[in-house]
Amino acid sequence: MSAHPTTKRFIANATEALADPQLQRAMTNVRSGFIDKRAAVAAKLPEFEALRDSARDIKNHALAHLDLYLEKYEANVTAAGGHVHWARTAEEARKIILGICHDAGAKTVTKGKSMISEEIALNAALEAAGIVPVETDLGEYIIQLRDEAPSHIIAPAVHLNASQVESDFRRVHTHLDAGRDLSEPVQLLTEARQVLRSKFLAADVGITGANFLVAETGSSIIVTNEGNGDLTQTLPKTHIVIASLEKIVPTLEDVSQILRVLARSATGQEMSVYTTFSTGPRRAADLDGPENYHVVILDNGRSSMLGTAFQDMLRCIRCGACMNHCPVYHAVGGHAYGWVYPGPMGAVLTPTLLGVDKAGHLPNASTFCGRCESVCPVRIPLPKMMRHWREAEFERHLSPATMRSGIKFWAFFAKRPALYRFATSLMMNVMGWLGRDKGCFSSVPLASGWTDYRDFPAPQGGTFQSRYQAHRKSTQNNGRAA
C-alpha cells in the first residue's frame, strides 16, 4: 500500500470507512483509551507543560544546526565502529539496505517497527530481492499477515478487532492445533510470541527505525513496549538502523527531556518499557550483540522543508497524540488517509513528501478544532500548516470546480458586509419560516453532505452578527450602569 498511495481517493476512502462496521467498532478503542490515559499521566507531572516547551526548543535548536549535528553524529558512529550511509531518496535507501543484506547473505530479516521503512516501502523491495521480511511488533505482524498498511503510527492494528486477529492467526499458523482456544486476546499474544521467537533467533539481519539519533555519542535510540526491537537488533549478526535526518538531537540530556513527553503523549505511560541507546557493533570482549552496525540516514525531501512554512513539522517525534485526539481520524481511521502517515501530522507531512497534487485532500480533513496542536508535545502548529496547504491547493487550482465556485460565491458577499448582513438575515427568516413546524430539515438543497447523516436545524432568533451586536450593546450598557 505504501508504494501505491490512495491519497487522491481520500473522499471515497472516508465514505467507505464510515460505512464499515468492524472499523467503526475498533475506532471506539481510540476514542476511549488514549485521551484519558494521556490526560491522567500529564496531570501527575507538574512540569509537563514546561517540558513541552523544552522539547520544542531542543528540536528547534537541533534543526537550526542540523548540518553540524549530523556531521558530529556521523563522526561518532564511525568512531564507535559503525557505518553511516546517506540516502537522498527512498530508492537510494532501499538500494543501500539491499546491498547490506546481500553482503550479509541474508535470507530472513526481522524488523522492529519503523515508519521510515513504510515510507520507503522496504518490505516489497526485500521480497522482490528474495529476502523474507518478518515484522515483529505485534501490531505490525498482524497487518503484515493481512497485507495491510499500518493505520496508526504507534498502534498499527488499531483498526482491527480481536476476532479478526484470531481468524488471521488460524489462517496463517496452520502448523498449530486447529482446535486451540484463541478467544482471549492474551492467547493471541502468547501465540504470536511463540511463533516469532524462532524467527528472532533465525534472522540474518535485524532492521529497526530510530526515535532519536544523539550527536554527542553517535547513539541511535528505539522506544518500544514489547521488547521486539531489542530482540531484532541484538540477535542477528547485522543491525541496520533506518532513520530520517530530523531525528538528530544534540546530547543525552536533550533526549532525556524529550523522552519525558514522548511516552506520556503517546500511550499515557510515564516511560515506555524499553528505551534503548545503541552505539556501534559489539565490542571486543562482548559475548552478544550484532557484529555489524549500519545507520541509513534518509532525506526524502525533508532538507528542503527547512526554511519554509513547514519547518516546524520536522520537530515531530511521532507520538500519535494528534491523531488520538482528532475527530476526523476517530471517524474514518488511518487507512482513509491513503498513505503512511495519517491524522493531522499526516495531513501536513504527506503533501510535502508526495506533492500537494496527490495529497491535497488531506489538509481538508480537518474541522480546525485545534485539539491536535493543543496536545502536540513539541507544539507543532498543525492547523496553521494545514491552512497553508489549503491555500497552496487553491492557488494552484487543484481544488474541485464546485468548491472553487462556492468559495467565490461566498467571497462576493463577504467582501460586501451590508449585502452579507442583508442576505443572511433574509435567508434566516425564510428558512425559519419554512422550518417553523418541525424545527429542522431532513434535506436542504446543496447540503446533502450534511443532511444525509443528520438533520439541519431550522434557524431561530436572528443572525450571529445581529445577536453579537445586541449582546455587545447590552454588556456595554450594563457596564455603564455598574
Binding site: 549530523l70 540516502a87 505485534l138 531489542d230 541484538t234 544534540p250 524499553y274 532525506d299
Partner: protein
C-alpha cells in the same frame, strides 16, 4: 556530488548558512561539551533514602516486583525465594559480573548457567548500572559481565541494583555514566527497562509478556 554532500548542501542552502560560520560552530561545540541539563523535574529531587523509596514505588507501579536485600551475600537466597514462589525450576542464567558470579550459590539448590542467553532460559539475572527513581527505570549496560540477551530472552528477568546506584533523575545517571565510561563514550547498548514487556496492540488492552520478559523482579541491595 555524493548523496552526503548533496544532503548537507541542501540543508545549508535551506537554512541560509555555509556551515563555516563561527558562532554556529561555537554554539554546537559548547552544547556538546557542556550538555546542559535543561528543566529539572522536582519529583526525584529528594534525599537519597527518598530516592530509593521513590524508585521502588515507581517500579511497582510499572508492574515490576521489588524486594530489599540486605547485602550481596543474601542475593542467592532472594533468587531462590523468587524461583520457588513462582514454581520455577531451580535454574538461572547469569553473566560473569563478579558482584554476583562470585557469591556462594552452593548454599542454594540453584543450577547456574553462564554467558549470553540462547532463548531457552526461564530465568536470568543481570546487574543494573543504575536505577532512576523518577520513573522506576532500570539502566542496564551491555558487557560480557552482563550480556544484553539476559535482559530480553528469559521469561523472568531478575535484576540486582545497588541502592547507592539509584539516582533521582536521568541526568544524574548520565553524569555517573560519563564518569565511568568517559565523556562521549557509551557502552555498546544502554537499556532503560521500565517494567515487564507489554503490548496494547490488540484492542488497546494492555497485556504483559509480549516478546521480552513476562516478569521483572528487582532486588535492591542495601549495602
Amino acid at each position: 556530488m555524493s548523496a552526503r554532500e548533496e544532503i548537507l548542501s541542501t540543508i545549508r542552502r535551506s537554512l541560509g548558512v555555509t556551515g563555516q560560520e563561527k558562532p554556529r560552530l561555537d554554539t554546537v561545540t559548547e552544547r556538546l561539551a557542556n550538555a546542559p541539563r535543561g528543566l529539572t523535574v522536582a519529583r526525584g529531587q529528594l534525599p537519597h533514602e527518598g530516592q530509593v523509596a521513590l524508585f521502588k514505588e515507581q517500579a511497582k507501579a510499572t508492574l515490576a516486583s521489588v524486594v530489599d536485600v540486605a547485602s550481596y551475600q543474601d542475593v542467592p537466597a532472594a533468587v531462590a525465594d523468587y524461583l520457588r514462589q513462582n514454581n520455577l525450576p531451580a535454574q538461572l542464567r547469569i553473566g560473569s559480573d563478579p558482584r554476583m558470579a562470585d557469591l556462594d550459590w552452593g548454599k542454594t539448590a540453584i543450577e547456574l548457567s553462564h554467558g549470553p542467553s540462547d532463548g531457552n532460559d526461564l530465568a536470568g539475572l543481570n546487574h543494573a548500572f543504575a536505577g532512576v527513581a523518577e520513573t522506576g527505570t532500570l539502566v542496564m549496560t551491555a558487557s560480557a559481565e552482563n550480556p544484553t540477551t539476559i535482559n530480553f530472552l528469559p521469561d523472568h528477568a531478575l535484576v540486582v541494583v545497588s541502592a547507592k546506584d539509584i539516582t533521582g533523575d536521568y541526568e544524574t545517571m548520565w553524569s555517573n555514566l560519563r564518569a565511568q565510561y568517559g565523556k562521549g563514550q557509551m557502552p555498546r547498548v544502554v537499556n532503560w527497562v521500565t517494567g515487564p514487556s507489554r503490548s496494547g496492540d490488540i484492542e488497546q488492552v494492555i497485556l504483559l509478556g509480549a516478546h521480552g520478559p513476562r516478569r521483572v523482579h528487582i532486588m535492591v541491595v542495601q549495602d
